[in-house]
């Protein structure tokens, strides 16, 4: 059942928050040993909160669609009185005394927090094979990664533990697990959702957003978490819209950009076919497909890497000498960032400005872009290289190749499932919009995705 369906059932008194929460906790208990999706289970607090939610509903004090719904958040969102590790041994005993804005707003909206999801160490990677808290496994094939860094959130939603889990996205970390786990993952525009209280990785690249089992659920969550927050200097004052699309929205007349360069190069053939099939579907619903050349995405990826290396290493400078407490892949990235001169960071930010302007020119020609989210489906745990079009490519670079550039541009993007490969593994379609066009990309996504995404048999 989706989040909005559960909410409707609760309003009709067909089910209670206590029952939903018990079911979520039971499913976590049954499936967490094989997926490791949830790092901290908050059973007692969740049961207590669910009881309160039911009492509030009985008094007619509903707080909206999230009221009484069990959810989870990635273990980098600060939670008052509950351990928040960022997937790192450095912070394994950290217990914040405040809630992140996102958590605060979800709680105010009545959501029941049942757990903190596992993640790639420090959100700095895409495998979610965490050296300190164990590898997170993809519910579709437990020998494969769920993607990352919000891997626990993707796995928890795909496994049906919760209808929604919050993630963060610095270079694809919401959209990648959404694609590999076959769920909906929304990265809103930079500034749309407060970063306050979310452990940072790259200050100017970090975005917060939901992973969910339906597009409308993702929109319902954005309705609750979006909006200005004075505690985040980069928070936008732009008014919030209703982000929940109609059940059967029209996309007639919308112009969908089909990139002629970069995005369809070196893809798994199954990914290529599934994304092109989604384009044909959109065309059959009346959208206009506009082939176009996009700016140099490879260059934007390079700029994004420089910015992230510098920002992450600056942030973690006080900890980098505790080398035995940091996993080898993350340590290698932190070391790289320390070796970049300040001039490289400044020049990367100058290039970013130029690229933002260049990219902005696209939006006079199209309303959104369609691209694959990842060129491959979920790799096996421990797999380091993939071969695409006869070329070997590092799994990390391949996985981030089509999503990373969207972060320095700050654009909203959603990944939705658009089919499966020959092994039955999910394939993701990325829809990218102009700044603050979350409502539009969710409308397009809703037109293409079934009411609830397919789930693995578990």
């Amino acid at each position: 059942m989706t989040l909005l369906e559960s909410a409707a059932a609760m309003r009709r008194r067909e089910i209670s928050s206590a029952e939903l929460t018990t079911a979520a906790l039971q499913r976590i208990e049954r499936l967490n040993p094989s997926t490791n999706a949830v790092q901290t289970v908050m059973a007692d607090a969740a049961r207590e909160r669910a009881k309160q939610a039911d009492e509030e509903l009985a008094r007619g004090e509903g707080r909206g669609p999230l009221h009484g719904i069990p959810i989870a958040v990635k273990d980098l969102f600060c939670t008052k009185g509950v351990r928040t590790t960022g997937g790192s041994k450095l912070f394994e005993d950290r217990v914040p005394d405040y809630d992140a804005t996102v958590v605060e707003r979800l709680r105010a909206g009545g959501a029941v927090l049942v757990g903190k999801t596992g993640m790639h160490e420090l959100a700095y990677g895409i495998t979610s094979s965490n050296p300190h808290f164990g590898a997170i496994r993809n519910p579709w094939d437990r020998d494969r990664i769920p993607g990352g860094s919000s891997g626990g959130s993707g796995a928890a939603v795909a496994a049906g533990m919760v209808a929604m889990a919050m993630g963060s996205d610095t270079g694809g970390s919401i959209r990648i697990p959404a694609a590999y786990c076959g769920v909906v993952g929304l990265k809103p525009s930079y500034g749309r959702v407060s970063r306050y209280g979310a452990m940072p990785l790259g200050f100017s690249l970090d975005h917060m957003g939901p992973l969910a089992r339906s597009v409308r659920d993702a929109g319902a969550v954005l309705n609750v978490i979006a909006g200005f927050d004075p505690r985040d200097d980069t928070s936008s004052r732009r008014p919030v819209e209703n982000y929940v699309p109609d059940i059967e929205p029209s996309i007639r007349g919308l112009r969908i950009g089909l990139p002629e360069n970069f995005y369809f190069e070196r893809l798994d053939p199954d990914v290529d076919a599934a994304v092109r099939a989604a384009l044909h579907s959109a065309e059959s619903y009346g959208a206009e497909i506009v082939p176009l050349r996009v700016p140099d995405i490879s260059a934007i990826n390079t700029v994004a890497r420089v910015i992230l290396l510098a920002e992450a290493s600056a942030l973690l400078e006080p900890y980098v000498d505790r080398r035995d407490q940091i996993g080898p892949d993350v340590l290698a990235l932190l070391d790289q960032g320390r070796l970049l001169p300040a001039t490289d960071y400044i020049n990367a930010q100058r290039l970013r400005r130029a690229m933002q302007r260049e990219f902005a020119g696209l939006w006079s020609r199209v309303d959104c872009l369609f691209t694959p989210t990842t060129p491959i489906t979920a790799p096996r745990i421990g797999e380091t290289t993939v071969t695409l079009a006869g070329e070997d490519e590092d799994v990390r670079l391949a996985t981030t190749r089509l999503v990373r550039a969207i972060n320095p541009l700050g654009l909203p993007a959603v990944s939705i499932p658009c089919g499966a490969d020959r092994r039955g593994l999910p394939i993701g379609l990325q829809i990218v919009g102009r700044p603050f066009a979350e409502a539009l990309i969710l409308r397009v996504a809703q037109a293409l995705v079934p009411a609830e995404v397919p789930v693995p048999r578990l």
Partner: protein, 76 residues
Amino acid sequence: MSSDLKKDWKKIARANGLSIPDAALERIAQSLDALETDFRPLVRALPPETEPAVSFRFNSTLAPSHEREGVVEDGE
């Protein structure tokens, strides 16, 4: 990148007083060299008038409340 411009990451680390073991430097040198190859030409092509995409904004909670009112966004 021509070989005469190739950076010596070990020397850079030592000059900056960074405690990165040699073995670790050897493991990351290839990635850094590749990044140099991709990044340097982009920097060389930058027009001088291009300013960075970071700016100081006086709308933080540190600002007095009267200065926070009416803040106009830069639209990015």
